[in-house]
């Protein structure tokens, strides 16, 4: 029967029709470039060489990645970025959110601090980078002058100019910018927790810390996991703030993967090697999100 066949056909095809535009965009702008990137990582080429001059080198570029000391410096810096960001942006800002939502602060001061802490995240990264560069300037910057005034001259540093402190100064600025933003997301999550739970806990005699630990933390678990993943992945993709503040220097000490990739590709003009770096970076972020999705799945199944 023709009409039945048609309607069945419709039933199967319609959802795919709706998916098609997205699918096409995803293929053109996401999946195709990933494949293309892998292909171009197998060649040595630069922006001047036409396709006919691409020299096939197999997996040499990947081998080179794992022999490259700057790659390891970059990975190390990315890991520091991730660890510190999770500690500050996720854990610490959850504490801040709980504090601002608690009864310890008046309504006024809680909304005051909420605004103040959130403000940095609406500023452009470049502006923040340049402003902090001025503050961290070794001789005229505010930071060293304050350290001088409070008798901590011994801990003064050329923050962005020393190989030991450059990346941590940049990471610090990044925390300053984003902690308030994550905090707002936690506040939203906390507000979604039913009030009765807190009331019941108070009746049972739970103190603030116990309430935080047994109600707030489980209540925001989903947000917590999402924020952790986003922060970690973000830490591996970071580019702008590092580029603005140190450009990876001095002597590659504050290089991160995104930065190094850009430098290799667009400054040194080694597109094949840059593609290999991009491939490695993709695998790292892919593995992290995959792990998170699996982990998240297990967690929500447990709570059900």
């Amino acid at each position: 029967m023709a009409s039945l066949g048609l309607s069945r056909w419709r039933k199967y095809v319609t959802p795919y029709l709706f998916l098609l535009p997205t699918l096409i965009i995803m293929i053109v702008f996401v999946y195709h470039p990933i494949v293309e990137n892998f292909r171009s990582s197998l060649y040595n080429w630069n922006t001047f060489s036409g396709q006919e001059n691409w020299r096939y080198v197999g997996l040499d570029n990947y081998r080179r990645v794992f022999d490259d000391p700057i790659f390891y410096t970059s990975i190390k810096n990315n890991i520091w970025y991730a660890v510190i960001s999770v500690a500050v942006q996720v854990c610490f800002s959850l504490g801040l959110a709980a504090l601002l939502e608690s009864t310890l602060l008046s309504r006024f001061s809680s909304s005051f601090f909420r605004t103040v802490l959130f403000l940095p995240s609406v500023l452009a990264v470049t502006i923040i980078g340049i402003t902090w560069m001025l503050m961290l300037n070794p001789s005229t910057g505010l930071v060293n002058q304050v350290l001088d005034e409070i008798g901590l001259a011994a801990v003064k540093h050329t923050w962005l100019g020393e190989e030991g402190t450059a990346i941590f100064s940049v990471i610090g600025v990044s925390q300053w910018q984003w902690t308030g933003y994550v905090m707002i997301l936690f506040i939203v999550a906390i507000q979604a927790i039913p009030h009765e739970l807190y009331e019941a806990a108070r009746i049972d005699g739970a103190n603030g810390l116990q309430q935080f630990w047994h109600i707030t933390v489980p209540g925001v678990r989903e947000t917590f996991l999402v924020m952790t993943t986003i922060t970690v992945i973000g830490a591996f993709k970071v580019f702008d703030i590092v580029w603005v503040m140190t450009a990876g220097g001095p002597n590659h000490a504050s290089e991160v993967l995104g930065n190094y990739l850009y430098r290799v590709g667009f400054r040194n003009d080694e597109m094949g090697y840059a593609s290999a770096l991009a491939g490695v970076m993709f695998l790292i972020t892919f593995a992290l999100s995959f792990a998170q999705i699996r982990f998240n799945g297990t967690m929500s199944r447990e709570t059900e």
Partner: protein, 433 residues
């Protein structure tokens, strides 16, 4: 929390592939022609000058339309390479002289200009010595717009107060630094966040400490692989640079300071000297007064094997794309811009010496600039900017090495060892291509 701003990796790749796949615009014969002009001076005063040139040009050639784009110095280095590889090449574009421009020439992206230039009246209008760095294998690929060189400027008042004369040897220079330091003044303002700043020092030291033929063979990678960058003069160059730093003659935290901020501290009278480009003289004069500062040639190489009469500097100029669809119009625009009238106006508006013959006179420029230009004419030649004169892969090892020497984490010897290693590698790669 930096994720969405630069989901960069894929976006960049997609953009690049779009650029590569882009299609050029073809115009019919009688239709107005648009030529694209790309340079590295987005500062308002420069833009004003170029807009003035373009307005005049378009008035004289009504069927040609000039589209200008400018990005700053550092990003230009990245952007021009990508743009040149795309389908939408600019017709006229800025390029540093030396290796930076030769790369375009070697890959056939730059139009040889010999036929348009030699034997015409244009030839007599451009300073001949400024053409050399744009020549490759006997062909001319670029035309200089202006001439730039590096000089040490000093605060006259401070030198007078301390009874210091303009130093003419390395030892006198060190003595002057020490005297300033003893007077609690920062001897030399130095901003090296972007390490091209130290490459100007090292380029100058190299030119004067390494014999010219040795240096040229190393820079062009024509030397025997075993000897590439092994001349002791290179180590000495880094060692002298390190000495200036270790003795406290540079301001603190040079690696974290931008060049422009260092200049601000010189202008504000916090530092006694600074190694600046001729084009910065006007800016300094605007901020601290033309009589407040003097200049001398940096006596960096006393006792070295190099040519002491070389000047570190280079012409800045333009090239025409070989893929330009309107080469005639592009050349016409270039000729119009690099002519006596426009050259004089360039000097008058911006205070920067033009490469057009006779453009910088007492009437159009600061006396100090005219004087420095005279010194430049007496020099035996120019040592080009190190960071645009050698292969970029070597630059990317050499310049961070200079930062490492400054911060004390590497010795001059170990940096030169790394430079040698990468040079050998680049030379071998070039041989296989």
């Amino acid at each position: 929390m930096h994720r969405r701003r630069f989901g960069k990796l894929l976006i960049v790749l997609v953009l690049v592939s779009l650029l590569v796949g882009g299609v050029g615009i073809t115009a019919a014969q009688d239709e107005p022609v648009t030529i694209r002009f790309f340079h590295k001076w987005p500062e308002p005063e420069h833009i004003a000058y170029y807009e003035w040139v373009i307005d005049q040009f378009e008035a004289e050639y009504p069927n040609i339309n000039v589209e200008m784009e400018a990005v700053a110095d550092e990003p230009y280095k990245d952007k021009i390479r990508v743009v040149m590889a795309s389908g939408e090449v600019p017709d006229v574009f800025f390029s540093w002289a030396g290796e930076f421009s030769w790369k375009f020439a070697r890959s056939g992206r730059a139009l040889p200009l010999d036929d348009y230039f030699y034997g015409t009246d244009w030839e007599d209008q451009i300073v001949a010595s400024a053409l050399e760095p744009y020549k490759l294998d006997g062909h001319l690929y670029g035309l200089p717009m202006r001439i730039n060189a590096k000089f040490m400027v000093y605060n006259k008042q401070m030198f007078e107060d301390l009874g210091l004369a303009e130093p003419t040897t390395w030892d006198e220079f060190l003595a002057a630094c020490q005297a300033l330091k003893d007077a609690s003044i920062i001897p030399i303002a130095f901003g090296n966040e972007f390490p091209w700043a130290s490459s100007h020092y090292i380029g100058d030291f190299n030119a004067k400490l390494v014999a010219p033929e040795v240096r040229s063979a190393d820079y062009l990678l024509e030397a025997d692989p075993d000897t590439l960058f092994t001349d002791p003069g290179y180590v000495e160059a880094l060692a002298r640079f390190k000495l200036l730093n270790d003795e406290g003659y540079f301001n603190d935290g040079a690696n974290a300071l931008q060049h422009s901020l260092a200049r601000a501290s010189f202008v504000a009278g916090r530092a006694g000297m600074m190694f600046v480009e001729l084009e910065e003289f006007q800016m300094i004069a605007d901020d601290m007064g033309a009589d407040a500062f003097g200049y001398f040639v940096f006596p960096s190489g006393t006792g070295g094997a190099g040519d002491q009469n070389l000047m570190t500097g280079a012409p800045d100029g333009f090239m025409v794309s070989a893929e330009s669809e309107h080469p005639e119009e592009a050349i016409a625009f270039l000729h119009f811009m690099l002519s006596p009238e426009r050259g004089e106006e360039y000097v008058r508006q911006l205070g920067i010496p033009s490469a057009v013959v006779g453009a910088a006179t007492e009437e159009t420029a600061l006396p100090l600039v005219v004087d420095a230009l005279q010194r430049l004419n007496e020099a035996s030649g120019m040592a080009l900017w190190l960071d645009t004169d050698i292969d970029i892969k070597i630059v990317e090892v050499y310049l961070p090495g200079m930062q490492a020497v400054l911060s004390g984490s590497e010795s001059p010897e170990s940096v030169m060892q790394k430079v040698h290693d990468i040079a050998v590698q680049v030379q071998a790669e070039a041989a296989t291509e």
